[in-house]
């Protein structure tokens, strides 16, 4: 079993549903990336750049910490 390539977790899925069930395509358009990139981030297959992370947080109108989390025990 191959582990996830990133330890960063995120709450994008929950935030999308809380934001009027925003679709992945809608979020991608707001952030200016492809839908595939949003899917990859949501599934933990891609760590976005700091800039993209801020753009995602801004799209939901929440602080960065509410979108992305990094576990204390993992290195």
């Amino acid at each position: 079993m191959v582990g996830k390539p990133t330890h960063v977790t995120n709450s994008i899925r929950q935030l999308r549903f809380a934001a009027n069930e925003m679709t992945q395509a809608d979020l991608a358009e707001r952030v200016g990336v492809t839908r595939q990139t949003i899917i990859a981030i949501e599934q933990g297959r891609y760590s976005p750049s700091l800039e993209m992370a801020f753009q995602i947080a801004r799209a939901f109108g929440v602080p960065l910490d509410d979108v992305f989390q990094y576990p204390e025990t993992d290195h």
Binding site: K4, G32, V33, T34, R35, Q36, T37, A40, Y46
Partner: protein, 148 residues
């Protein structure tokens, strides 16, 4: 799937096919005559041309086919060229491909040292390019599918 990812799939399909075609032609000729006599330049030019044209045509054809299929399913066609993630994956694949380019370069230098026939030098470079392209394409697809 973005246009960039489709292009990688096409590359992975076209490059080995063309390499098999090229080596089938020239090695079958090598069975009948000495390598110094083999006419390998024309097959080489054709092979390089087919790789370039094949990847371009294949990418366009796959974009059209997938757009038609998406429309038939009532979905929005995905014709995005790519974004930052695609660029990062492109760089990652190219870095992997450089390994074979390096091996090929060393192989060519060694072959030149021994003054072998240009056929072997050109074929070694061609093979290194194909292996690098295939290796890079596999690395990109792994990155697309499993992450990186």
């Amino acid at each position: 799937m973005t246009v960039s990812e489709r292009s990688v799939w096409v590359q992975l399909f076209v490059m080995p096919l063309v390499a098999v075609g090229y080596f089938s032609v020239v090695l079958s000729r090598a069975a009948d005559e000495s390598v110094a006599q083999i006419s390998w330049v024309v097959p080489m030019i054709w092979s390089i041309g087919i790789v370039v044209a094949g990847i371009i045509a294949g990418t366009i054809a796959s974009a059209i086919t997938s757009a038609i299929a998406a429309t038939a399913r009532g979905e929005e066609p995905e014709l995005d060229e790519g974004d930052q993630r695609d660029k990062e994956i492109e760089r990652l694949g190219n870095r992997k491909a450089q390994f074979f380019t390096g091996i090929g370069t060393i192989a060519v230098i060694v072959l030149c040292m021994f003054r072998v026939d240009p056929f072997w030098i050109a074929s070694a470079m061609f093979l290194a390019g194909i292996l690098g392209g295939v290796h890079g394409a596999i690395a990109k697809l792994v990155a697309y599918r499993r992450g990186f």
